[in-house]
Symmetry: C2
Subunit: 96 residues, 2 copies
């Protein structure tokens, strides 16, 4: 199991229609084959300067690579992530 997470802050104002559109349209990622346990999260620690997170799991590295290369992921990164995300940090976990 590989848990892929990304914590991020949008360029959009909190509560704006653009923010809601981004978070809603991100659900396309959940439908990419191999994606398990997809979650959209709010980051709430005052010690972290990020507002949101996505978390998903893959059975193995092949499934993770397939997701990364999937046209819907490539298009989301190009058309939405890059223009709309202010800063982010990827963190990927496997069991110890």
């Amino acid at each position: 199991m590989i848990r892929h997470t990304v914590v991020f802050t949008l360029k959009h104002a909190a509560g704006s229609p653009e923010e809601q559109a981004f978070l809603g349209d991100a659900l396309i990622l959940e439908r990419i084959p191999g994606v398990e346990k997809f979650e959209r999260l709010r980051q709430v620690s005052p010690k972290a300067d990020f507002d949101f997170g996505f978390s998903m799991e893959f059975a193995d590295q092949a499934a993770y690579r397939s997701y990364n290369d999937h046209p819907d992921h490539v298009a989301f990164v190009r058309d939405r992530w890059v223009p709309e995300v202010l800063r982010f940090q990827e963190i990927d976990y496997v069991a110890l």
Copy 2:
């Protein structure tokens, strides 16, 4: 539900007895009342400069506060975390 995570790098050399001792002794945190789904994880993204992670869930903020104030947590932070952790980032999530 609140998911409390911390991603970190130890001062110890990879594979050292001190590293193993820290990761093993951290299991004391799992036994603190209110802690659910405790996980010790390896951080594997080349885009994140951290080696390990802990993840746990709490039913609510009261359970999270109780964990933070628990003597076993306070002692672990004072006696192990502060002297042995090189850098870390807390990230806490709630459902969107």
